[in-house]
């Protein structure tokens, strides 16, 4: 390839790459910020036809457990128990967190705050929290959206240990996600690599500090002086 052709090809490659990056950046930013435009984009990509499922029974979060709770714990309502294994429709909000399972997200009645770093499993999340299981899509995971959603699928009740460390008691094997306001179907699963808002899960602290990258002579922070004998990986 001579210099002339290179001068033509190179800008084309660069512009194409830039365009792809912009597209990826747009997608990532959309996922991260979950603006209404994202719903609109999805709506454009999909036929603007509200999802219909006459076989599903609407179930509210406050209908899952008997309220108030008894002294020994929560009990499923007769309605919830009768719907176990059957199709239901649930309306609520995605919980924003670092779920390590790419097929599952949490779903609850309000736009609940959940700071995993601070709270762990000692939290203020409602007992009616639903673990929603979506069919796995390669390299993708549910991306958080701010708007109210209606989910359709099969209700499962009873304890089950999840990858996250929780024991779930209410699960939805979900096969359709819609915008609650419009009924328009939505695709929640987005490539993990493009989800800028999806933080890397914090590794459990094994008690060891990472080895210091400070080169010798080691700086002794206690004395503001350099020390020739040091144990940079010790505590």
């Amino acid at each position: 390839m001579n210099l002339k052709s290179l001068s033509f090809v190179l800008p084309v490659i660069l512009l194409t790459g830039l365009g792809l990056l912009m597209l990826a950046g747009k997608d990532a930013a959309t996922v991260a910020q979950n603006r209404d435009s994202d719903a609109a984009a999805s709506a454009v990509a999909s036929p603007v036809v509200p999802y219909e499922d006459s076989s599903s029974v609407a179930l509210k979060f406050e209908e899952i457990f008997v309220m108030p709770a008894g002294p020994k714990g929560l009990e499923y309502t007769a309605k919830a128990w009768a719907l176990a294994g059957k199709r239901v429709a649930l309306t609520g909000f995605m919980l924003r967190n670092d779920n390590i399972d790419p097929a599952i997200f949490f779903f609850c009645e309000t736009q609940h705050a959940y700071d995993e770093r601070e709270e762990g499993l000692a939290d203020s999340l409602p007992p009616s929290l639903v673990q929603v299981i979506l069919p796995v899509k390669k390299n993708s995971a549910p991306a958080w959206r701010q708007e109210k959603l209606t989910l359709y699928g099969t209700l499962e009740l009873g304890p089950r240990q999840e990858q996250s460390g929780r024991v779930s008691h209410i699960r939805l094997q979900c096969d359709a996600v819609t915008d609650a306001a419009t009924g328009v179907p939505l695709e929640l699963r987005k490539p993990v690599a493009l989800q800028l808002g999806r933080a890397i899960p914090i590794p459990s602290d094994l008690g060891a500090l990472p080895p210091s990258t400070t080169p010798p002579p080691f700086f002794n922070p206690r004395r503001n002086r350099n020390s020739t004998t040091h144990h940079p990986d010790k505590l």
């Binding site: 008894g70 007992p127 304890p159 929780r166 144990h231």
Partner: protein
């Protein structure tokens, strides 16, 4: 190849092997208790690890052996004298990667002074690794005066100076340059400033932030009752004896733990539990009964977190079991044999179907599931378990609103599920009634947990309200101290949360604020002369009639994430600051990144401490959080004038 040359080659290879052996050597990569002598080769004070005379703690070393080699023996020496472990209370454990963890459990030393700790680990080829550290046994002045029979730690989680100021402005008012009245906290005669760094960060979380008061030592973030080690096991870390255990063993005192948080949460657990994982869940709550009741004389445990105490097998709608609880297989605890032998504790078990409430009742505890249950106590109870919510208890803002009008249930709260949750002062009252039955006295930790949690959430009205609730619990303790003078009250925090600042006051009435366009909301912030004195009114129940007053107090957050600000109360509870008021508030951009940190964060700012009663005079000046432990123990063990 000639024989002569081949001989040279063999010699060269042999020499290389010899050289390799000369350079290969096992090394000690960790020595517990932590010390600057080991980490920085610095033998000068301040000494990182300090203990009371006879306070128990574990000696632990991690040794990196040469590839394929084994560590066959480990000797710990204190001031040159080998330490002998009690039967079964030592172990050398392979932890992978040719690393070995050596422990001696339950060591103690009764002689005050700085001690040199040396570990010598011998590899199976006779090579020896050594490590040198130090620790201090604190000096307690005996017969220094009357002893503090009762010690009450009140921890306003996350409560810095500004949290107190805000609670005072709202609940007591200020005018013409002066506060109209002091908070109960303000009436305590002694004030100090406390530094809060943890073992591995300038910014602590709540686990080491409370662990320091219970053990006198530093811990890594996320860890409580232990020093860090190099294993993945949550339950095998080197332990430090808690204040509750020490005072139960030496003085027969009782322990009480009262919190508005889930009792599995870091602050309550840091006063009785030993684990490297503050989120260990079910195992933490099992440990309250198995270890703390037996060895710490735990007589009162109150808060949220009922989900950890229920059996998992909620079959056929008969009860959902541990709703949202930890793993059924990984959350329970099992401690290794050397811990069992050294600390006289049971092994624990993986028992997800354990009915822990029933087991507490079998151990003699009165169980209260709600305020009605607390009020039904006869007065003769000597052990009390109160579990008022599945997770953290709802905050006082919502509890009071519901009491005033039962139809008031904020979206996001669990009031509908748990409508009869007590206030912290009501829990405090019952705890004092139970614990004061012990002639030998008690030590109690009372936590106002959601001052921190709602500061994280930047929900101003809810954390201010909980700071007022906390002050009312302090008032209960001050009244108790007045009737029981040999009581020491310490009111402090574990850290500051959210970088709170009272930056001014609204320049408009609440009615005007409600009609202010989103784009103009920033303009209502009055600073300096324009801030004036907001007038909050207090209802008969002791709490503000409303938080939405004219010319209201304005709060700023320095350790913040993004939020939408309306300068009014949020009708919803626990809604993400990034999702709350998105159309009614204006965006205030924050500094914290990522979905894992969606809220304001802890800061490294010093925190205030107020003290009153027996031994309080020692709590002046600026001191480390671990110093507070030793000041309190001086009062309990040696007495105070």
């Amino acid at each position: 190849m000639k024989l002569q040359n081949s001989g040279k080659l063999i010699a060269a290879i042999t020499g290389l092997f010899a050289l390799g052996n000369a350079f290969a050597a096992p090394t000690v990569t960790r020595l517990n208790p932590p010390s600057a002598l080991f980490t920085y080769a610095d033998a000068t004070p301040p000494y990182i690890s300090r203990f009371l005379p006879a306070q128990r703690f574990d000696l632990q070393a991690t040794i990196q052996a040469d590839a394929g080699k084994t560590i066959t023996s480990v000797v710990f020496k204190v001031n040159g004298t080998p330490v002998t472990a009690a039967g079964g209370a030592s172990a050398i454990t392979s932890i992978g990667g040719d690393k070995f963890s050596a422990t001696i459990r339950g060591y103690s030393n009764s002689t005050a002074g700085v001690k040199t700790l040396v570990v010598e680990a011998t590899q199976d080829d006779s090579l020896v690794a050594t490590g040198t550290g130090n620790f201090e046994i604190a000096s307690i002045t005996l017969n220094a005066g009357r002893k503090a029979k009762n010690i009450i730690w009140l921890i306003g989680d996350g409560t810095g100076i500004a949290h107190r100021t805000a609670a005072r402005i709202v609940s007591k008012g200020a005018s013409l340059g002066k506060s109209n009245e002091p908070l109960a906290i303000d009436t305590l005669p002694v004030t100090g400033i406390v530094t809060t760094h943890s073992l591995n960060s300038i910014v602590t979380d709540s686990a080491p932030g409370a662990h320091c008061y219970s053990t006198g030592n530093k811990a890594n973030n996320g860890q409580e009752g232990v020093f860090p080690d190099d294993t993945t096991d949550k339950w095998d870390n080197p332990r430090i004896e808690h204040m509750g255990s020490y005072l139960a063993r030496t003085q027969g005192k009782w322990l009480g733990i009262v919190s508005t948080a889930d009792v599995e949460d870091a602050t309550p657990a840091a006063f009785a539990v030993s684990t490297q994982d503050r989120g260990a869940g079910t195992g933490i709550c099992d440990m309250y009964l198995d270890e703390a009741v037996a060895n710490h004389n735990l007589h009162v445990l109150m808060g949220g977190g009922r989900k950890w105490f229920l059996p998992l097998d909620g079959s056929a709608g008969a009860g959902s079991g541990r709703v949202n609880s930890s793993t059924s297989s990984g959350g329970d605890y099992v401690v290794p044999a050397d811990v069992q032998a050294g600390w006289s504790v049971p092994a624990g078990a993986v028992d997800p179907n354990r009915n822990l409430i029933a087991d507490f009742q079998t151990a003699g505890f009165y169980y209260a599931p709600d305020l009605a249950g607390l009020n039904a106590m006869t007065g003769s109870e000597t052990k009390l378990l109160g579990l008022f919510n599945s997770g953290h208890m709802d905050v006082s803002y919502d509890k009071i609103a519901h009491r005033r009008n039962a139809a008031t249930i904020a979206p996001g709260s669990l009031i509908a599920t748990y409508p009869d949750q007590p206030l912290l002062e009501e829990m405090t009252d019952k705890a004092l009634t139970v614990l004061s039955k012990n002639a030998n006295g008690f030590v109690m930790m009372i936590e106002g947990a959601s001052i921190d949690k709602q500061a994280h959430n930047m929900d101003t009205e809810r954390w201010v309200h909980d700071a007022i609730e906390f002050d009312k619990a302090v008032a209960k303790c001050i009244a108790f101290q007045a009737a029981n003078p040999d009581t020491l009250i310490i009111v402090t925090a574990d850290h500051e949360c959210a970088g709170i600042a009272i930056s001014g006051g609204s320049t408009v009435t609440d009615a005007a604020l409600q009609s202010t366009a989103v784009g103009s909301l920033k303009g209502i912030v009055g600073t300096y002369d324009n801030a004036k004195f907001p007038a909050y009114t207090i209802a008969g129940d002791g709490y503000p009639t409303t938080m939405d007053v004219d010319y209201r107090m304005i709060i700023g957050y320095a350790g913040n994430s993004d939020r939408y600000e309306t300068w009014r109360s949020s009708p919803s509870y626990n809604v993400s600051p990034q999702a709350r008021n998105t159309t009614t508030g204006y965006l205030v951009t924050g500094q914290q990144p990522g979905t894992g940190v969606q809220s304001a964060v802890h800061t490294a700012s010093d925190i205030p401490l107020s003290a009153g009663g027996r031994g309080a005079a020692a709590f002046t000046g600026v001191f480390d959080n671990t110093d507070a432990f030793f000041k309190a123990m001086q009062a309990a063990i040696g007495g105070s004038k």
